[in-house]
């Protein structure tokens, strides 16, 4: 790949080519690989908490099942769908960037942000519900309402606290990633507004999209793990 080829000279003039890369293709490949590797680290990051969840769910199934029944499945399902919609707008957005369709891209990013903020809003409502019901671990933790709903199964409040600790830790960490995602897409909105994206440069949009989809996938697992442990018997 001699630096003096015409193609290389043309690409050398691309304003987004960083000096240490030979050409735009190498830059794009490196950036994409970088984001995938980062997402791999995120799998291990969330994975540690999945171990904690796994261990305690096996050990304290009754409390986990009862706790799971006490969170709002309707809101959870709606939120799952909100995120799926946002993944659609992201995927369409990456395509719009790739085709240089600035206005469409801006609309799709804004929609994505609306969905993302909507998710966070609903999550906030759910957390507030837990707070009101005294299901937040700590001094005022009280599961007498849950125990009442399961008169035949004695529930250990300490073990129930473990469920709710994991509930808040997992959804909290996920929400933090969503907030970061919103920040990333605000930055992408600005870049799109400036007309930075087109067929030969849309990498930030693509790797931002990969991040967003990953956060969606984490939720796709959190939903059944937290909300659907046991929805069978009416207590």
């Amino acid at each position: 790949m001699a630096d003096t080829s015409a193609l290389a000279t043309q690409e050398h003039e691309h304003s987004d080519l960083q000096h240490h890369f030979a050409d735009m293709e190498q830059q794009k490949e490196a950036s994409t690989l970088g984001m995938w590797v980062f997402l791999g680290t995120e799998i291990m990051f969330f994975g540690g908490m999945f171990l904690a969840y796994l261990v305690y769910r096996l050990k304290y199934y009754n409390e986990f099942a009862a706790g799971s029944q006490s969170i709002d499945i309707t809101l959870g399902t709606i939120n799952t769908m909100v995120l799926i919609c946002s993944s659609l707008t992201v995927a369409l957005g990456v395509k719009a960037a790739q085709r240089g369709k600035r206005k469409l891209l801006i609309v799709l990013i804004i929609l994505t942000l609306i969905f993302g903020l909507g998710f966070l809003g609903i999550k906030g409502i759910e957390w507030y519900q837990k707070y009101q019901e005294h299901h937040v671990p700590g001094i005022s933790f009280n599961i007498s309402d849950i125990q009442h709903a399961h008169p035949k199964t004695p529930l250990n409040p300490g073990h129930a606290q473990l469920y709710f600790s994991l509930y808040f830790a997992l959804t909290g960490l996920h929400a933090l990633h969503m907030i970061i995602g919103v920040g990333i897409f605000l930055a992408l909105l600005w870049m799109a507004w400036k007309g930075r994206f087109g067929p030969d440069y849309y990498t930030p949009m693509e790797i931002g999209g990969l991040y967003w989809h990953f956060v969606d996938i984490v939720w796709i697992y959190l939903f059944p793990l937290l909300y659907l442990i046991d929805r069978k018997h009416i207590p």
């Binding site: 291990m44 261990v55 671990p137 600790s165």
Partner: protein
Amino acid sequence: MATPAVQVERPNYLNSTHGIRSWLLTTDHKRIALLYLMSVTFFFFIGGLFALLIRLELLTPAGDLVMADTYNKLFTMHGQIMVFFFLIPSIPAILGNFLVPMMVGAKDLAFPKINLLSWYIYIFAGGLMMYCIVTGGVDTGWTFYTPFSTAFSHTQVVMAALSIFINGFSSILTGLNFVVTIHRMRAPGLTWRRLPLFIWSHYAVSIIFLLGTPVLAITLLLVFFERAFNLGIFDPTRGGDPLLFQHLFWFYSHPAVYIMILPSMGVVSEIVPCFSRKRIFGYEFVAMSSIGIAVIGFLVWAHHMFVAGISLYAALIFSILSYLVAVPSAIKVFNWTATMYKGSISLDTPMLYALGFIGLFTIGGLTGLFLAALGVDVHVHDTYFVIAHFHYVMVGGAVMGYMGGLHFWWPKMTGRMYPEIWGKLAAVTIFLGFNLTFFPQFILGYLGMPRRYWEYPPEFQVWNVLSTAGASILAVGYLLPMVYMIWSLRYGKIAGDNPWGAAGLEWTTQSPPITSNFEVTPEVTWEAYNYDEIPAPEEVPVG
């Protein structure tokens, strides 16, 4: 002897731009490496200070230098600083950052700005840790075991946990940069089989950085959540399992020790062929062993937990796997030895460190096998035997490799030679001081002296005195290079582009290199370690 004023200094990465902003905002991997060199050295001496205080206390059986709680803080801070702020970054962030792009024929790492960010994250985390120290420190041991760390310790656990959590991102981003660079930015003709083994080691280290560090991150985050928000994940009174913490903690912290040793092994793999004037024996085996160590290293963590309450079944599995992990390390030792056989050996300072590494790492590694045997471990767990074992591999191994690497690449990085006589003297001092410090500790552990104890029965005193004497010699050994290397920056002999006659793309460049490393992107048509084609240096450089 040197007269720097006479030479017209060629443009290079050190003199290309001036001023503090050009350093603090640099994206040049070589400058970032030097930024790390300064900060890592700083933390090395802080950690060393704690070590000295520990050894001073242990001169006498009674606890008479510091209070018991203070002693807990001393060994905790020593461990945390040395592990997270010295050993883990040392070679990758300094030599790795400097050399990885050059060894693959690239102008820089894949993500230079992220490289700079890594350093700033490290500095910020280090600042938090220093603040933690001056506001009372931590007393939980570097291992943060729950429920003491989450429910009972009254020290700066949250701050220390946050500091190390943040520091983890520095490692992760460095690993990410290395992996992408090695995959995507190799020069034309540089196939995987032609890569220097230093690169293979750093690739393996990066795998551990990327897959292990996030688990430490989540573990520390959970400790933080428990202390700050009362989310009692590890709280036994609520049914939490302290062993869950230990599993999560050691899942990272065991591979972490391979983070510490693999880069040193990479350094040794570069030094030994050069000073034997011979191609490395069994290149593929050494390369694959690096990957093997990284992978198998993830399968052995619960050998730190044999007496903690894991099931016997699990203990058996982890014991067998721990024996397995020794195999690739042993393969490397055999290959280095075979490389030297019938080679033309010269005992320059880097080679002295490499030889020291091979001997001391072997001792440390073999004692690891003692510990992997369940019956033996029951006897020596939590004694000085363990301390001696890991200091043999981490100091006798990793730090010797680090020192050897610094000396080997010093001329490339600075354009100057360090004074060879002082180099040799320091290496021998370190070797002798090290053995005097830590060999008695094997005996102490075998005799039953527990670790992390501030006072001990009088019959252990003689070994403790020997150990402390060794530590003072070791301290002198480490101070010497500080002095003469700084001295060499101004008065050292000007180094040529390849004073060692070494193989590798980095040696085809100027010393010190220009900012973009290469005038023209190299095209590689030769195999690695082509010492049959490279002439030996005319004279052995003498300072």
